[in-house]
Subunit: 231 residues, 6 copies
């Protein structure tokens, strides 16, 4: 049976949206019951930005600590979700891949925020997918797939149902400000490529898209390894 | 040299008020430099309520877990403050009195949120003051002292410069809704009484009041053990 | 299937009574095998008092540390029981509700002593029952139920087969010295009330009473939420 | 400045003797204040035997777990002493040499019970002395030194003011039942020999003997490495 | 179903022999699948000696720390094997028997290196066998069984298909340099004797011998308790 | 007083070179005594490659676990160095930035290997320098500075005494195979840039170069932030 890691934007799993939270809890519980879920990773969203901004405003110059505050906010979102998924989930969001493997050894679903300053939650999700030997990464994001160019600026942009990670990196470099990788950063891509794990990019504002992707339906965009992965 | 534990309402130490946060960081660093500070405890404030409400709204019926979410939000506030006080502070908010004593063994100031469902942060502060053998607990709250009755409802209410814990409990029972103890709950009072530790209730909207109290100045209201404490 | 948390007085699970210990091990193993057991909580009993008295006699004035010694003695009793229940039980008595949830994630029965100074083991049992979503708390105590008044002093006292938590609190306030709550303290009652978890008070000097209660038989006194619990 | 590790028999540091406990606390605090104390190790004494016997009586056949119960009882004695020595001591008795080194990194005195089934507390003390680079091990025992033969049986036995570890092993083999090493077991001797750490065997029923030994006075018996140690 | 603990010489599970490592992974996975495996213990081998020698050469006189380096090298070998056995194994080699029991509570196979300076990995294996209530210890060593004398020096030496632990100790004392116990040290023998756990000594250069021993086949030498064990 | 983090190539701190190890221990102890040292980070070197290759050869396809083995080998090198620096150093190499901050709270020097799969030890060193607010990062590498092009291939290459991080990145991109960053990877540069921390690249085959760099002497190449860092 195929198992997935789901990475959800902090914009979707957040105390500001209890209704969406409830839908996510229902959908993820259902996937857990079907044995399809290995781990869930959530971003820090608004809480992370709020704590980082406040600390900076109050004079905290230590950038590592600013990042660590953001990660702790993401872990708070993860805990919120973990408690909603209880008892399918492990109750403690891990702070490293070592802790994640120990949590997974109980047979429970790992729910994580971030691991490390300077590292995206997408990279955390990629590492978890690799370490837990998941078959796919589902990216529940704020867009409904990968486009040829930024659809907000280019009306001729069209959604790609299928592309490679290398194509994705090129699209991201073109359509975004330099250095900003909303979907997947280079570390995440390197990890997914080397282990041959495909990703599916779906519109996370509807959790049913996550369910469809996890069950193998062709929703959003499928991003595939270029070949040569060891998986 | 007298050392204090400072308990700050989550309304004052919160990302929504970076200016106040900055003032608190400055004042507490100064007290730390003077060797006056043993520990700081902060409430969960708005973040705690937000996560608890969201979890409940999303269907979480497990009340212990709801409380634990609130405590984790308080620990996030504590971490925010701990990072601002670095390197005077220990970087990790403890989750039990055992962890607090281990953190204190490094000689750093302990910054804590909550410890336990069903327990106020005032009780946490009282236990820390007792365990760390502090000489006073400073309660930085939303009022400028203890009044004979609720000053928001009773214009004849007057501030008590000095009272006993037993008098405080009677005032709290009269002026508040039953079972709500904004300043100190019965466990906190029991701990402070048995160890003979006085408290000073000050208006926490100005951190200078905390500094004055820590330096022994007669600000706000002094609450004293009734006698017979072992301290 | 209904699952219970069993709270046993430290007077019953203690090295002074190996025969009773053996009976408890047998009965609890049997309940574990039937899938009826979520957690067991034991008090500190004589060992706790002995260490607290010794420390006080040797000059320890730190009341938090005195309480912590008592809790560690209760955890030693818990470990004794946990080893007897092995491999049904998790081998490490938790020191906080966070650790308890992590232990429970292995699918093993949690065996706990205390968590926190100023907190009864009944409160620990109530929090565990709530967090682990147990259906009932069984209180194996030194009396065979709740009486209308103290049967040791009042010959007209009669056992109540069924009462509410509010009735229990009133009985406790009347029949005991002020502030002493042998069965359940206010925090424990508040937790059980809010989560709608009934308790059964049984005579713990015979472990079979625990088995009967866990299997739903009408032994001792049943204490019920007043209604309105969220469970 | 020379630093010592003190190993105290569980017969002397036990809740049954609060007066002796108080004297030990006073003497050890004084040594700590003089910078002479690196670590203290205490045996399990009566509590250990009581828990082991109870568990065995209740049917626990797992010998490792029986030993672990005894070690936890020794750790409870260690905690009792650590709290009495607070704040000179680290508050948490370690369960391994790794934990002991981490506790020592705070600059506090480590107070330990046992580490491992099948290992004497004398071996724990020897390992701590070696790891913390102490200059001497003080053994506060139930005899006032090492005798040529068992003074309880042989009236011509005389106390040796000075001997080597090899001489000690020969004496122990002669005067005791085979396999019983009350003072030092072979592992402890091997550790002390290889690191060239002398021991002083003193009558622990008077804590002043420990103080004298720690300050370099010629009390009891001095046991010396045979030479060739790496210390 | 009988369960075994397998102790493998660090000479066989080492990065220098990836082919043998692969065979061990295959064989142990197969035994795990059959439910026959409780724990695996590996020695430090060449890596341990290399780090200890380097540290000594660089001036480290602290013998406990030298031993601890060797144990960490053994734990690295254990991790190597644990990752190869994933997900049958727990991912984290324990550093004490307490940690080992917690890892075993997940239902995964424990893979350990050493626990303690001054203690052989055979003793670790014996303690794990006892604590996890295994039925046999399989010793995958560099010889194909126990001989009447050292077969490298004595051509008349013959392999003993069956002997007692006491006979083994006598053979070891005769054929080896004093104090060197390659197969089992006195602590390991004491543990196995007291719990009535037999061992099978097999030639570990072929992992199939381990499989045969685990399945109850009469390979190598069987070492039996002398009787009177509590198992 | 300026404090530095030193990052040493695993080629220099390795059991194969006990003489160099001894020199490093002497030099780093001296810097620690002068209060100049905040943390030391070492790579995995030959041990890391050996374990990774062995695991891959034995069939381990899990790339995260392969990286984790390499990190554990680097942590073994770090432990070797930490024990040599004892008692200046904290004895336990951290596995995350959180653990590193807790170790640093004891006032001891943190000695680290790696933190995370997919992350260089240079990135670990940069994060530690940022979190511990060090004034400079010293990179003890296999070259004696940064060259205009690869000196092994281009005889006209000349060493740059001073350059910016952006210039360094351009040099690395030209002279190395794509994607290989021996000195500093993009994450490390991003961290050092944002916090305004300069690095000095020195020839680590002579530890005196590290001492000179730490004391502010103009050895090797100085790499400076481009300006605009928050430090």
């Amino acid at each position: 049976m195929a198992r997935v890691v789901v990475k959800i934007s902090g914009k979707h799993v957040t105390p500001e949206k209890p209704g969406l939270l409830k839908s996510y809890a229902r959908v993820l519980k259902s996937l857990a019951g079907e044995g399809l879920l290995a781990a869930v990773v959530v971003g820090g969203g608004r809480a992370a930005r709020s704590y980082i901004d406040a600390a900076r405003g109050a004079g905290l110059g230590n950038r590592s600590m600013l990042d660590m505050l953001g990660i702790e906010a993401a872990r708070l979102n993860a805990r919120l979700l973990a408690y909603l998924l209880h008892p399918h989930s492990h109750p403690e969001p891990p702070r490293s891949l070592w802790e994640a493997l120990q949590a997974a050894a109980t047979g429970r679903i790992v729910v994580a925020g971030g691991f490390q300053p300077g590292q995206s939650t997408a990279a955390v999700a990629a590492l978890l997918a690799e370490a837990l030997q998941a078959d796919m990464l589902v990216l529940a994001t704020t867009v409904d797939g990968v486009y040829t160019s930024d659809p907000r600026r280019d009306r001729s942009a069209r959604r790609l149902p299928r592309l490679t990670y290398q194509q994705l990196l090129r699209v991201l470099e073109q359509s975004l400000e330099p250095g900003r990788y909303e979907l997947l950063d280079p570390l995440a891509v390197a990890v997914l490529e080397r282990s041959g794990i495909p990703s599916r990019v779906v519109d996370g504002s509807d959790p049913e898209n996550v369910a469809r992707a996890a069950r193998g339906e062709p929703v959003g965009s499928l991003v595939e390894p270029s070949g040569g992965g060891s998986g």
